[in-house]
């Protein structure tokens, strides 16, 4: 089954070492000294990516708790890309806002460690541990700007509700353990398969508790209340990071738990998730239309995208699982790009996140406006961008499983979402620049990251076969 008991944790170890190095480097930093701490993170994440490639197809397993199967590795790779892009956008923002670089990178890398662990954990306790590692780091990152009341409010809300949901999750684990005598997913699966014929209320309660915990992390309606505030209050780079990374990690664990351990109870959780997916898509888009702050708008859009991802889970077929992986990757590239542009255009005193801030961007920064347009069109799912292929893939899964209703509602809400993405485009191209506001210059590294994301979006939109096959292969070996 496993070829080496330590192989499976190598990606995690790479990132952890980078985080520790960042911590140490910060303590040796003289006051006011500029240190390329972000570079340490790049090295760690780069090695983690290489480790993913080397581990591919080997189903490495460590301590009977970590399974570096292809599914986990695909998500790990996605998370590494999220981390790399975030670091690329971070340097400029940290210098501008005077954020503590050492703490920032350390927390960022620790939270990525937690995310990776969450993606590959095959034991409920490990998943909980990973959830806490990533959550605590992200709570702190959200409130990193101590001078900003909005940041503190967002962080506090996120923390309280997050702690609450963690308690739910833990209670769910406890009940599951009571029932099955194990926290290992495979053993729970075997037990559930044996007892799945006669479902007891206890089983349903355990299931429900776990569901609430996951739904909170992926900000599904009605557990989404923290999302807009936390997203708006956090430094914009962090918002981009948590909207993509946390979501990817939580979805990976969600899929793993519900499609392996609790697969036998599918008839019981499918209607619930069906309903959650429906309201998540509808609420995310409809409320998104009313937003005039871009960060809040993207927060609601990220809720809606969570709904599309849930479709893949409800469909629960091969296509559905693979579509979640593909969609997470696409969504990460796209959303990070959009948040990255907002972050890079902000100044220290003024966030560049109101809709009217984008007025006439095309006239002063045509290239940035063009890149932003690509990100927004991809979020809206318009061909030939990756967002279209992602949505098409998810809806194929829904139709395949006979959920025409989910596909229709999903497509209709994505048309509505196009309306609010286009509002930004209207501002950038069709409104005259309001006042001569100084827009900061953009460094070469962040610009390169944006261009690479755009190229990737077109690549995945026009020639998706290779990555689609990878995603399909990732789910073929497990479950």
């Amino acid at each position: 089954m496993s070829d080496s008991s330590f192989a499976a944790i190598v990606p995690m170890v790479c990132v952890t070492l980078a985080a520790l190095a960042a911590l140490v480097a910060e303590s040796f930093r003289a006051k006011g000294e500029q240190m390329p701490i972000g570079g340490l993170g790049v090295i760690g994440l780069g090695f983690a990516l290489v480790a993913c490639v080397l581990l591919w197809g080997r189903n490495a397993s460590s301590f009977e708790m970590i399974e570096a199967d292809n599914f986990g590795l695909f998500v790990t790779a996605t998370l590494c890309i999220v981390g790399l892009l975030t670091i690329a956008f971070s340097g400029q923002v940290i210098r501008r806002d005077g954020l503590p670089a050492g703490e920032y990178y350390t927390l960022l890398l620790f939270s990525i460690t937690g995310m990776i662990m969450m993606a590959v954990a095959s034991d409920l306790l490990m998943i909980f541990l990973a959830l806490e590692i990533l959550s605590i780091a992200v709570y702190v990152l959200t409130g990193l700007r101590r001078d900003s009341p909005a940041a503190s409010e967002g962080a506090f809300k996120y923390f309280l509700l997050g702690a609450f949901s963690s308690a739910f999750f833990l209670y769910g684990i406890a009940l599951t353990y009571t029932l099955t005598g194990s926290t290992r997913l495979d053993r729970i699966g075997i037990w559930m398969a044996a007892e799945g014929m006669n479902v007891t209320p206890m089983m349903l309660v355990a299931l429900g508790m776990l569901l609430v915990g996951f739904a909170f992390k992926i900000s599904a309606v009605p557990f989404h209340m923290w999302t807009p505030d936390a997203y708006e209050g956090a430094p914009t780079v962090v918002t981009g990071f948590m909207s993509t990374g946390v979501k990817a990690a939580a979805f990976a664990a969600f899929v793993r738990v519900f499609l392996s351990a609790f697969e036998p109870l599918r008839a019981d959780w499918t209607p619930v998730l069906w309903g959650i997916a429906m309201v998540t898509m509808v609420v995310g888009t409809v409320v998104g239309v009313a937003q005039s702050n871009l960060k809040r708008m993207l927060a609601y859009s990220s809720i809606a995208h969570g709904g599309y991802l849930l479709i893949g889970l409800v469909a629960a077929n091969e296509v559905g699982k693979a579509s979640i992986l593909f969609y997470l990757l696409v969504y990460a590239l796209t959303n990070l790009g959009a948040f990255g542009i907002i972050a890079l255009l902000s100044t220290r005193d003024r966030p560049h996140d109101e809709l009217r801030d984008f007025a006439g961007l095309w006239y002063s920064r045509p290239a940035l406006a063009g890149l932003m347009t690509v990100f927004l069109l991809s979020l809206g799912g318009i061909p030939p961008t990756a967002g279209f292929v992602g949505k098409w893939y998810v809806f194929t899964a829904a139709v395949r499983a006979g959920h025409y209703d989910l596909a229709i509602v999903g497509l209709l809400t994505s048309v509505i979402s196009v309306f609010f993405y286009l509002r930004v485009v209207v501002m950038m191209y069709m409104a005259e620049p309001s006042e001569a506001q100084a827009r900061p210059a953009i460094g070469a590294i962040p610009l390169a990251a944006l261009v690479i994301s755009t190229v990737a979006i077109f690549y995945l939109g026009i020639l998706p076969t290779r990555v689609l096959n990878l995603a399909a292969a990732s789910v073929a070996t497990i479950f």
Binding site: P366, L377, I382, P383, P384, F388, W392, F395, T396, V399, R400, Y404, A407, I408, L411, L412, S414, V415, V418, F419, L422, V426, Y429, M430, P464, T465, L468, N469, A472
Partner: protein, 534 residues
């Protein structure tokens, strides 16, 4: 070269668009060069469409210049292109109108020339893609992708209410196509159930046995998307806004090519894929088309704005096209295919001429003009010819299509033909009335006294359109003959479904299909009909 001709037709404008985007120079510096390059590329594309016509075998109903390559094999998605008699002329029309619309904006588009040229060329690539795609996934990609350049053309270079019009245009069209995407996915899934493999391929999906219940829903999903695009009567409200607010080049392409995608979709996809449902729904759609013919004409009559008048006349004229398709016989469908091209030429011409007037006076209100005949005789002459073409004067392009459509409708059900024929009269009323108020009488507005007549550049723009209108009217067989085999094949396919339906019906109802079978057994009817009409 001919092996990759269709790919070239898509790739050349796309590459040209990227080239234009990467050229240095913003706004006024470098603008002439960008204009010339863009125009040159569009001419190359037009030449390629002529090569396509030259190499096209008009006697065959099969798809030609077929290109096929796996694209996303896991889902049976292919890069599959081909052209037949139905799409041939639409491709040529696209190639014909794009350079004209670029040239028409030579002076009127002053800002952001580079991006303007980029979007027009990208639009051309996607439009051609829509007409030649034979894989439904590929078709949908082009169908949706095309909205974006049009959105920018209206939104950035349009008139006062351009943003509203642009957003309305894109939301309407997208909302319509959403259900079509679900139906496409459903078809692929049906194919997977039947054969074990997904496929979005047009020919394979045609071979699929689809249950009547599925057919009805699938047909409605496709028909909604196409009806919005055409636009058919209750779905038309986006069109006047988009037409009026779009810049001249946008209006020309919108009226000339984009609307045809809806009718093309009916002929290519909705009717053949779901023939039984098509037979069932044809009378309803025809009724909407006839309502659109009369409603569009009546509303056009009272418009104070010339561009809006022409926009509503499009609703009316496209009603004829849809009626011809719904007649489900060779005459009607031939007429529809012909009328699609003819309307593209004549309405494109009208928008060009109205654009020239409004470039001079910056108003499109009929009341602001009057007596222009003495001031600008050349423009008046051109306008009159296009007007006559539009209202269907014999020997100009509008006549043949409308005549065939009415003939087909009459064979099917004389009541539709009778009501639709009033549209012909009404179109003469509103068009000639507008011409009278704008060009005849005394010069009522002093501003109009010194307006310059057509410039040489404008002659180059409108000349080909005039020539085309006359050629199409005098030699209709050039255009009808290559389309005939493909049209017959579609009609045959739907008729088979009709005969299935007839067998299910009580025998007393058998008189109607007898006529249809007769018209089908004489596939040369359109030509004899024209001879008769002369």
């Amino acid at each position: 070269m001919t092996a990759y001709l269709l790919t070239l037709l898509i790739a050349v404008p796309l590459a040209g668009a990227l080239l234009v985007l990467l050229l240095p120079g913003r706004d006024e510096q470098g603008a002439p060069l960008i204009r010339q390059i863009g125009f040159g590329i569009s001419l190359v594309v037009f030449a390629l469409t002529l090569v396509l016509w030259w190499g096209f075998d008009g006697a065959s109903a099969d798809f030609q210049f077929v290109e096929r390559a796996a694209w996303i094999p896991a889902f049976g998605i292919e890069y599959h292109l081909g052209v037949d008699g139905i799409s041939l002329w639409l491709v040529v029309l696209t190639g014909f109108l794009t350079p004209i619309s670029l040239l028409s904006s030579w002076e009127s588009v002053e800002k952001k020339t580079k991006e303007f040229t980029f979007f027009i060329l990208a639009l051309e690539a996607f439009m051609i893609g829509v007409f030649v795609a034979l894989d439904l996934f590929l078709f949908y990609v082009f169908w949706d992708a095309m909205l974006i350049p049009m959105y920018f053309l209206i939104g950035v270079w349009g008139y006062e209410r351009r943003i509203y019009a642009a957003v309305k245009f894109i939301l309407y069209t997208m909302a319509g196509s959403v259900l079509m995407l679900v139906a496409i996915l459903g078809l692929a899934f049906l194919h997977q159930q039947a054969t074990g493999a997904y496929s979005f391929d047009y020919a394979r999906l045609l071979a699929l046995e689809i249950s009547p219940g599925w057919q009805y829903w699938g047909f409605l999903a496709f028909a909604l998307a196409f009806a919005i695009k055409v636009p058919l009567f209750p779905f038309h409200t986006w069109l006047p806004d988009a037409h009026v607010e779009a810049p001249t080049a946008g209006s020309v392409i919108l009226a000339g090519v984009l609307l045809k995608m809806g009718t093309y979709g009916f002929i290519r996809f909705a009717f053949p894929l779901f023939p039984e449902a098509a037979v069932y729904f044809a009378p309803f759609i025809a009724a909407l088309a006839v309502i659109g013919i009369i409603y569009g004409a009546l509303v056009a009559m009272v418009q104070p704005d010339m561009k809006k008048l022409v926009a509503y006349s499009s609703v009316s004229h496209l009603g004829f096209v849809v009626l011809g398709i719904c007649a489900l016989n060779a005459n009607g469908m031939q007429g529809a295919v012909y009328q699609m091209v003819a309307h593209g030429v004549s309405t494109g011409g009208l928008f060009l001429l109205v654009g020239m007037l409004s470039d001079r006076r910056h108003t499109r209100l009929i009341a602001e003009y009057g007596g222009l005949k003495g001031v600008m005789p050349q423009l008046t002459a051109a306008f009159l010819i296009i007007t006559l073409a539009s209202i269907g004067l014999p020997s100009l392009n509008g006549f043949i299509g409308e005549f065939l459509v009415l003939l087909g409708a009459f064979i099917w059900d004389w009541k539709f033909a009778a009501f639709a024929a009033t549209g012909v009269i009404l179109s003469a009323v509103y068009m000639l009335w507008m011409v009278q108020r704008v060009f005849y009488g005394d010069v009522t507005n002093e501003h109009n006294r010194a307006l310059p007549d057509l410039t040489p550049r404008e002659w180059v723009v409108i000349g080909p359109v005039l020539a085309m209108a006359i050629v199409m009217g005098v030699f209709p067989n050039i255009f009808l003959a290559p389309a005939a085999p493909a049209v017959d094949r579609v009609v045959q396919r739907v008729e088979q479904a009709q005969s299935v339906n007839v067998q299910r019906r009580p025998p007393s109802d058998a008189s109607e299909p007898a006529v249809l079978v007769q018209s089908h057994s004489a596939p040369r009817t359109p030509h004899s009909a024209i001879r008769m009409a002369r």
